[in-house]
Symmetry: C2
Subunit: 213 residues, 2 copies
């Protein structure tokens, strides 16, 4: 047995070699997410995350200065995988239908997240005072998807010609009532479905006229 040891040892990486910082970061995020899910956001401290990973809290702090920055990174990671290709949803359909499909898709996705992971609601409440980058990233992604659909709608003559970026921004905020987790967490699905339709109808009607003065 000892005879075969040297080549195997050669192939193995040295034990003490540092893991790449990116991998450590991912490990921290995975563990933080798992602890938030199982214990609740308020009950999982950075020191618990470090403990679960067999790391020093200082090492976790080196990567994330606060729990809010952990939330930010978790949400960002979640978004990059989840909200890819939003604007291409049904892109052979009329623009007004695509706007409704987009709003419904996002609303359903947020509702599912809140139901499957109740800690998300607690996390959002407890970081409500923080200006997290993930909020801006979310807005950028959704606004871009709205803009793509509006540009298409204007090009095809469904919507009046207008500043599509500006219209997309207004539409994004008008949709907050059916997209923001705080606005949807405690609302009945059928009420939300109607609300979503009505607000999209409002947006679609607005896009029939030129929004720019």
């Amino acid at each position: 047995m000892t005879g075969s040891a040297p080549p195997a040892a050669k192939e193995r990486q040295p034990r003490r070699m540092r893991r790449p910082a990116g991998q450590t970061r991912e490990d921290i995020l995975n563990t933080a997410e798992e602890l938030f899910r199982t214990r609740g956001y308020a009950n999982a401290a950075i020191v618990d995350i470090a403990h679960a990973l067999g790391m020093s809290p200082a090492n976790v702090f080196k990567h994330f200065h606060s729990k809010a920055s952990l939330v930010d990174a978790i949400a960002a990671r979640h978004m990059e995988t989840k909200y890819k290709g939003l604007a291409s949803l049904d892109d052979n359909h009329p623009a007004c239908e695509r706007l409704l499909a987009l709003a419904r898709h996002l609303m359903a996705s947020h509702r599912r997240d809140l139901e499957e992971n109740p800690y998300i609601f607690e996390m959002i409440l407890l970081t409500a005072k923080d200006d997290l980058r993930c909020g801006h990233r979310y807005r950028d992604i959704v606004r871009a998807a709205l803009e793509t659909i509006i540009v298409d709608g204007c090009r095809k003559g469904e919507f009046a010609p207008q500043d599509s970026a500006r219209a997309a921004e207004a539409a994004f905020y008008a949709l907050a009532c059916v997209l923001h987790p705080i606005m949807i967490a405690n609302e009945k699905p059928d009420i939300l479905a109607t609300r979503c339709e009505e607000v999209v109808r409002l947006i679609n009607a607005a896009l029939q006229t030129a929004l720019d003065k």
Copy 2:
């Protein structure tokens, strides 16, 4: 001196007479509001409110079964005095200007409340899971004000003829992004001012066309 005592005693109400329940309720609300303001919402319990009033906690519970029901009553009282005559704001102006004035007025009022009484934000976060009647009351008041303006606008030919109640409901939700305390608490005033204008512009544009199918 003793000679004049009997008539005075006759005029005075008997000491042990019960205060009307409505007055006790008001006293509880005043004290609760004061304690929430000075100690913060989370740090003032029903037992503290009872103590400050020299009442038994059971007596307070008889009027309010939970802290959430206190919040509900405080908010309701606040609204009745504050949001009277909303729709009559500038009622000689064009409907589209009145919609903007109404949205600005409400947004400014909510911002002032949050700034002057930071406990309100904490209170809203901590009751976010409760379906409070004050939320419905607020919606009814604002929706009615929006509807009055929309009806006027339709009558004067500024807006396309339509189901004003339905349009008011959609407009109310579209405005959540500049009216809901959670959506405005941490946003810069100039950003909110622009957002408010843009969303009202969207609503006004929508009202140029008939929203009903």
